[in-house]
Each structure stands twice: as structure tokens, then as C-alpha cells.
Amino acid sequence: MNRRLLLFTCAVLALGWAPPAGAPTNQRGTPAGTVVVSGRIVDRVDGTPIPFARVEMRVGTSLGASQLGSARADERGEFRVERLTAGGYYLAVAAPGYAVAYFSSKGSTSVPPGDVLNVADNQQLMPLEIRLARGGVITGHVTNQFGVPAAGAFLNLRQTTGRGGPSPFYLQQGATSFVTDSNGDYRLYGLAEGEYLVAAQMLGSGDNLRVGSTDAPRVGHPRVFYPGTTDQAEARPVVVRPGEERSGVDIQLRLVPLLSVSGTVAVAGNANRSELQMSLRPVTGDSDGSVFVSRRNDNGFEARDVPPNRYWLTAFGHEQGRSPTERGALVWAAIEVTVTDRDLRDLTIALQPSSTLEGMLADESGNPPTQFSVTALPVSRNVDAPHPPGRPDASGKFVIRDLTPGRYRLRVGTGPNWNTEITEVEATLAGQTLTNREFEIAAGANLTGLMIRVRK
């Protein structure tokens, strides 16, 4: 029974299609409020009503944030979500063949999660008009390294434009993840207009692959981006317009050797070597291509099963503090390594001291607002190490320690929550105003003279 279910589930998951999950009226168990949200769902181009679309309303932006209302449009495209409590909601609409649309203050958008729709008790809201755009389609053919159709290859689609924030909705009409059929063909549909990177990869074929013979060297199946590169930076985006079908997005898979990268970390000063954290991460693309780095007690390290690519090899740790419970300053190391067709051995990476940023925080009248803290959010950097926020003292002076080279954006807020960020802030460094409140730290450099003014 369970296995049959599993097979069935796989079939549905593989299609990346979530069966409709709405309900004609309020979800069961919903606390009954008095607010009604109603509206009409129409085709963006010709304005004709779209029947039976699904509408979901959620609070918060994390995936699956609690659903507080859902409805199904009728045959005239009209919907009504009743018994809502007052508050702010995100609203999404899905209909077969259309791209998912989200409520926005200007109408509707294909960029999740859209804008918050605020409703108050007993408020009579104007009916909404949500315009859906026909979903775009990308089709193609995937072959293996010998040109044979590759059945069951996993397609991965990522939007490079108009991607927006996280979506709290499961609603997804088309497929953004899909496997090729037994001909090696795939069809991704219901896509919002935009620019996409398409990648294919053989997954789950075991981690001990050899070609031709068990004596052959081990190989792996890398993710291959259209039109045929493992480097995301060389991927060619596919532009999809509403309702447009882009065919011929063909990808040939390949097998690559799996290599080893090993060496030692030169530990300076009194850094706690057992606490060192290392990573091997592709220079371009996302962390999907990261390889686990194992460490030995003698400062040696090794990453196995590394596919050819350009990587940042990084390490960071902390010096020993004055007491066993206190952590000292952060030390870090980063080198770029290029893996081609052979193992890399005897690499040495040397730990370096981290940087500090010193500044002053003041409000408009020059008083130190001590309830605030200042955080440096990484925009781009190679070593993904944590650093504590700066807390101003009674005079408004603060220090952010443990920074590694890279670009950062200053955030002033009262807590870890995004919602408490203060945006009315002007930051100057050595008299120069920082664009977007961004600044750069070079290796070994310490920055001073930062001045932050908060407008209340």
C-alpha cells in the first residue's frame, strides 16, 4: 500500500503539479471574522472571465505560511473569500494554463508574493480584479553524453528576472521542476513571463558511477545549463513572454571526472584549529554546487568528489579568547582554485585577521539612539562567516568586528526581524555618503569614521 502510494506520489511530484487545494468556502477551522474579499478573475489580454480559478490568502511570506482563506472562482470568474479576520494578507490566484498571479496595489503581478492587502473589520472592500496572463511554455530534448535520449533527467528552472521575494503559496499551475519522459523530452508550462535559466541533471543514479568498467575512474552527473555548460555564468537565459512557447531548448548531459582537493590550513596565532569551518563553493552560480570539505586534526583538509569548476576554497575560525568560554577574533582564509582534470594536492591556505568597522550612530538631534543596533549584511563576499552586530555605547559609538573582505550593506534596526529595520538612515564614510548604505572592506583593512544618522 505504502509503496503504491509512493509510486503514485512520485508520478505527481515528478510532474511538479500540485493538485488543486482550495475549497469552495472558508478553510475548516478558520477563526470566523467579518471581512469579505471578493473579486473577479479575467484574462489579461482580452479581459474575458477565467472560470474556476483558485484563490488563496495567506499571512506572512515564508513558504506555506498559514493559509487563512481560500476560494474557488465560479464559472463567471467571480470569487468571494468570507469570514476573514482583519489583517494583512497576501493573495494568489492560479488557473490551469495561466501563470500564477499575486495581488498588487497596482492590480496584479506575476512577481511573488505581491503586495499586502490590508482589511479592517466590517470594511466593505471594492471587488478586486485580478488579471491572469497565459503561462509561457519551454520545451526541449535532453540527451546523454552519447547523444542517446535521456529519460528521467530532472529539469531545474530558475527565473533571472522579476523573481521577487519568497512566495508563501504552494499554488503553482505549471511545472518548475520536471523530469524528461521516456523520449528524453520535457515540457515546462504555466510559466510567468520572464527570463529563465534551464538546467538538466541526472539524479539518484547512485554515487559510484563508472563508464565502461568497474575499473574506470569515478565520474559524476553535473547539472548542465542550456545550451550546454556546467557554469551558471555561461548559461544562456531563455526569454518567455505570456503564452509564448519556446521550443528546442535542448540540453546534452555529460559525465565529469570526480576529483580530490586537499592540503593544509596554515594556522596563525592561537586560532582554535578544531573549530575551523571550511567550504568549497563554485565561484559562479549558487551554493548548490558546494562540496563538503572534511578536516583532520593536523590541519589537513580534503574535499572528495569534486567536479571540475572554479571554486572558492575558504576557511574561518576564531582565536582563543581570554577565557575558555570567550571567543576571540575571527580569522579567515580564501583562495580561488580551478579544478580541471586532476586532483589538487598540497594546497596551503593561510588564516588572516578579520577587519573591524568603527562608527557613530546618532539621531537628527545628535543624540545616541542606544536602542538600535547596526548590522553589516553581506552583499557579496567569499567567506561566509558570522559576525555580531554593533551595539552603540552611551556616546553612540559602535564597532562591528569579525568582518571578512567583501561588500556589505548597513542595516539599522531594533531586532533580528526585517520588519523593524529603520530605512530613514543616512550613512557617511569619511564624509562621503554611501549609496544604498553599501561599503566595501578589503583584506586586512579596518574602517573608521562611519557616521550614521537616523531620522525618526
Binding site: P96, G152, N208
Partner: protein
């Protein structure tokens, strides 16, 4: 794309490849070729499986799937090169099979055609076997298009390929934005059905445009357009078949609303299900829709005319069940509330009154023969599963109250299999109810508690063992031994884990062995796994009859019989 280019490559189905180190001196080398065109296939994964030396028994739940899903241990995997070649080195002496997994189709070395049993290759004295030709067939494809009454594509609706002999073991896909579908299946016969009901089950009927105020829905529709499986057309496909044009037009039918009232009930599983009255006639889920009983009233929309049952089983809280093994910690004094009422929808909305009633407990004695009984502590980790005979949809359990007594939570009236997990070192000997042997059959719970059930374990089980002839050699099929009850009444109602059934893969030396509750059995050796219980009737004529006595080991040598494809 021409069919000969449709190639099958082992993928997710070969997910759990373990690879014990090889230490032998032998090797097996050859080529993978297309079963039809004989052209080599590059880049396809070939797996080497060793036939274990010792015999192994499998639970029914695993047995049905282990031959298609590739989870069996393997001795290694090689991707063929551009010329389709593969070579396994350092192969130890023993018997091996070569497998290629594809979409629900397994190709094995030695098959004369895609439905033939695979053959073994023997490696002895470190020899090398070369020139092996492994023929691979494409799994058949059933393809078509689903449109609505006005010819528009129906997007994202589930289409199932349903084997007539096992309607619950269907394979399903969803239609794409053109309404098109293509489902890969093993060779065989199928009904093809569009199942809008799978969306209804999520309380979201696949609505059609209403006619005036009349609600319309699309019902389950079998190719070529039948509303019942009796009128469905069987489609027969062989390997390499690409069957297209399985087009199905959905026609809306009138739909009605069932509204119900009930005494509000609190439970972690407060659902009431609307199920088709004759689930045997169609694929599961036979549940059309579900509603919540907690508020005291419920509505079920979009129900087409037909005969249904409203079923609910509200059990007390129980520990989360994984792999059917979570034992209860205590016996809840809370009642199990249930209802099982017929409801017919003809041409109007229906109002029902649902009376939830408490169920009945199954209690009885437990005895341990042949040694000191285990302690209650040892028994606490063992679950007693009360399995409903009509379906597997409800979780009902019991527990050991002491080493000599057990009790279940309340269960609704019906037929149940008692499936007690044996403690370490003990074997189920018999289950009786009112003195009648129910080890291999279900017990009846009528409108009363039942306290006459006795479960007996022994530490000296009855055993069957023997040797299968002729001895395994290169070019032969690996033997399977099936031991099943000689009582035909136990074939129709097997339940999920039948006690009187042993499914055994014989060891490479031809021996087999299994403990079983005492009783009379048929035993048969076949060149491939049996269809359970479909093959029982035919094979009982070829089988040996054995009587297994308490505490005794019975020997029975067997000759391999040809099982049906």
C-alpha cells in the same frame, strides 16, 4: 520522435544502489543492445546483482514491488560506454543477474522477450565471462489527450493506467497544458481513466460550467468514454509499443450537495468520507470527498448521482505510526466513534443525520508456549495491528496488557485481521476466535465487544525446508518458493501481511527455509515471482501439499515450475 529512439535509462528507480566491495578474481563483460533493433545503447546503467547464497523470505508488501523498483542490493553498477559496453571486474564466485531498470520496466540478462524471466550467470574459480549480450526493451507508452465537452484541453487532471487484475496498482500522470498525457507502463493490459475525483477528494470538485443553477462536475471517465469500469475498453501493450490516440472527452454530469448534521465530535482524525459503495469496481481512492465533523455540520459539494457510503472512524489519540510498528503506550478509555451509512444521490440535494456511535473492543488471551514468556516490558515495543479487511484506510491498534492478555481500542463493526508483532525469538503459532482458527483469515466484529480471541506464540516454530531442483546453473532462472495456505478461503482475503504465506527467494545452492504457523500448505517453486494471490489457483495443481506440525521441521524438495508471465 520515431519509436526506435525512445530509449530507457535507469534513473531514480535505481536510487538506492549499495555497492559492497568486490573481492573476487572473475569478471563479467558484454554489451547492452536494444531488444528490437540489436543496436548498442551507450550511457545506460547496468547493475550486477548477486543471488544470495542463503534463502530469504520477503513480506508481501515488499515482494510486490521489489522486482520493479530496484531497491535490492547490487554488487555494482556500470554506465555503458559509447558502444554499449560494460565490464564488471573483481567478481567473486557465485551466481549473478544483470539488470537494467527503466520506467516501471526491468530488463534482465537472458530474457527471450520483455516479459520473460531473467537468467543467471555463474562465476566459478575466478573465471571471466565475456560477450554477454543484455537486451533492453522500451517500456510501452499509453498516450492521448483529455478534452472537455467543448473540445478544450483539460489541464492538470490525473490520468491513470489501471491493470484490470489489480485496479489499485495503477500508474498515474497529469495532463499538460495541451491536455496531453503519456504514461509509461510495464507490458500488459490496462484500462485508462481520467480521475477528476482525485481533486474532489481534496474537497475541490473538478467543476464544469453549471446549467442554470444546476451544479455540474466531471466524473471519473474510462477510455473510450465510459462512466463505469465495466464498460471500459482494455488496451493491451507490449514492450516498445507507443500507443497514442487514447483520447477521452469528459462530459459533465449533474452534481448535488450532501449536507449533514452530527453531534459535534473532537478527534485528531475528525473526517467523514464519502466513498463509492462498490470500491472493487474502480481504482482507489474510492473516497470522493471528505468533511470535518468537529462543528456538528458538514457539506459535501459536487457529488454525482450514485450509491455511496458515509464512513467515519474517529479514534482516540495514538502514537504516530511508521512502518506499521508504533505500539500503543496505554489503552485509551476514550471511545472510537464511527458511522457507516449508505447514502444515495439521485436527482436532488441530500440531507443526512449522522449518528456517531462507540465501537467495540477486541480482547483476549495471549500465551507463550515452549519457554518463559517475555516480560511486559519486552512486549511493550510490539504493536498489535487491527487491520480492516475492506481497506487499509483506518489505523486501529491494540496492545499487550500483560504477557497473557491483550486489548484493542474500540473498532467499528466489520471484519478484521489481527496482526500481532511477535517479540524477539517468538513466532506466531495461531490466532483463534471463539475456538475457530483465524490465523489466516479475518474475524467478525458485530455489535458487541469480542473477548474470545486467543493469540498463541511459540519459540519452536513449525518450519518448512528443502531443496529446489534442478540446481542453479548459467542460463537458468533464479528460483522462487511460495508457501501458501491450502485453505482456498484464505486466498481471497489476504490482508496486508498474511500469516499463512511465505514468499521466499531460494538460495543459490537451491535451499529454502521458512517458519510458518502450523497447518496445511501448498508449496511450489517457480522460475519467477508469483502473482499473489492470482497464480495460487493454477499453481495449487502443480504444488506439493505439506502439513506443518507444531515445533517440527518438514522437508520438501521441489522441482521448478514455469510461472505465468
Amino acid at each position: 520522435m520515431p519509436p526506435h529512439l525512445r530509449l530507457v535509462i535507469a534513473i531514480a528507480l535505481a536510487l538506492f544502489v549499495q555497492e559492497p566491495a568486490q573481492t573476487g578474481a572473475g569478471s563479467i563483460a558484454g554489451r547492452v543492445v536494444d531488444g528490437r533493433t540489436a543496436l548498442p545503447i551507450g550511457g545506460i546503467a547496468v547493475q550486477l546483482h548477486e543471488v544470495p547464497k542463503e534463502s530469504r523470505a520477503f513480506p508481501l508488501s515488499d515482494y510486490r514491488f521489489m522486482f520493479v523498483n530496484g531497491t535490492r542490493p547490487t554488487r555494482g553498477q556500470v554506465i555503458t560506454d559509447g558502444d554499449g559496453r560494460f565490464r564488471f571486474g573483481a567478481v567473486a564466485d557465485g551466481f549473478y543477474e544483470l539488470h537494467v531498470y527503466a520506467f516501471h520496466t526491468l530488463s534482465q540478462f537472458g530474457q527471450a522477450d520483455a516479459t520473460d524471466a531473467g537468467r543467471v550467470i555463474e562465476i566459478s574459480a575466478g573465471k571471466s565471462v565475456t560477450g554477454v549480450s543484455l537486451r533492453v526493451w522500451h517500456s510501452p507508452v499509453l498516450g492521448g489527450r483529455v478534452i472537455d465537452e467543448s473540445g478544450r484541453p483539460v489541464i492538470g487532471v490525473e490520468v491513470a493506467a489501471i491493470p484490470p487484475t489489480a485496479v489499485d496498482q495503477f500508474l498515474a500522470v497529469a495532463t499538460d497544458d495541451r491536455g496531453m498525457f503519456a504514461v509509461n507502463v510495464p507490458p500488459g493490459d490496462y484500462y485508462v481513466a481520467v480521475r477528476p475525483e482525485t481533486t474532489i477528494a481534496r474537497s475541490d470538485a473538478l467543476l464544469a460550467a453549471p446549467i442554470g443553477r444546476q451544479q455540474m462536475v466531471y466524473p471519473i471517465t474510462f477510455f473510450p468514454g465510459a462512466l463505469s469500469i465495466d464498460q471500459a475498453v482494455r488496451i493491451s501493450v507490449a514492450a516498445d509499443d507507443l500507443r497514442t490516440g487514447i483520447d477521452i472527452r469528459l462530459k459533465p454530469v449533474k452534481a448535488y450537495r450532501i449536507t449533514g448534521r452530527n453531534a459535534a465530535a473532537q478527534s485528531n482524525r475528525p473526517w467523514i468520507n464519502l466513498v463509492r459503495d462498490d470500491p472493487a469496481k474502480g481504482p482507489k481512492p474510492s473516497t470522493l470527498t471528505q468533511a470535518d465533523l468537529r462543528t456538528g455540520q458538514f457539506t459535501m459539494n459536487g457529488v454525482p448521482p450514485g450509491s455511496y457510503r458515509l464512513r467515519a472512524v474517529l479514534t482516540p489519540d495514538m502514537p504516530f505510526m511508521t512502518h506499521g510498528t508504533a505500539p500503543l503506550r496505554t489503552l485509551s478509555p476514550e471511545p472510537t466513534l464511527w458511522v457507516d451509512a449508505p447514502v444515495t444521490v439521485s436527482d436532488r440535494d441530500v440531507e443526512v443525520r449522522v449518528d456517531l456511535r462507540p465501537g467495540f473492543r477486541i480482547t483476549g488471551k495471549v500465551s507463550f508456549e515452549g519457554g518463559t514468556p517475555p516480560t511486559l516490558e519486552q512486549l511493550a515495543s510490539r504493536a498489535i495491528v487491527i487491520q480492516r479487511a475492506i481497506d487499509n484506510d483506518v489505523d486501529l491498534r491494540g496492545l499487550y496488557l500483560s504477557p497473557s492478555a491483550f486489548a484493542s481500542i474500540q473498532v467499528p463493526p466489520g471484519r478484521y485481521f489481527i496482526r500481532p508483532a511477535a517479540p524477539q525469538g517468538w513466532y506466531l503459532k495461531a490466532i483463534t476466535a471463539g475456538g475457530r482458527d483465524v490465523t489466516g483469515s479475518a474475524i467478525e466484529i458485530e455489535f458487541a465487544d469480542r473477548s474470545d480471541v486467543e493469540i498463541t506464540f511459540t519459540n519452536r516454530p513449525a518450519k518448512i525446508r528443502g531443496t529446489v531442483q534442478p540446481a542453479l546453473a548459467t542460463g537458468m532462472s533464479r528460483p522462487f518458493v511460495t508457501v501458501f495456505s491450502a485453505d482456498r478461503s484464505e486466498w481471497t482475503d489476504l490482508g496486508q501481511s498474511p500469516a499463512r504465506l511465505a514468499l521466499i527467494q531460494a538460495g543459490s545452492d537451491g535451499t529454502y527455509e521458512a517458519p510458518l504457523p502450523p497447518g496445511t500448505y501448498f508449496v511450489v517453486a517457480t522460475d519467477r515471482p508469483l502473482k499473489v494471490p492470482g497464480d495460487f489457483s493454477r499453481l495449487s495443481l502443480l504444488a506439493e501439499t505439506v502439513v506443518l506440525a507444531d515445533g517440527a521441521t518438514t522437508s520438501q524438495n521441489l522441482k521448478i515450475q514455469k510461472a505465468a508471465k
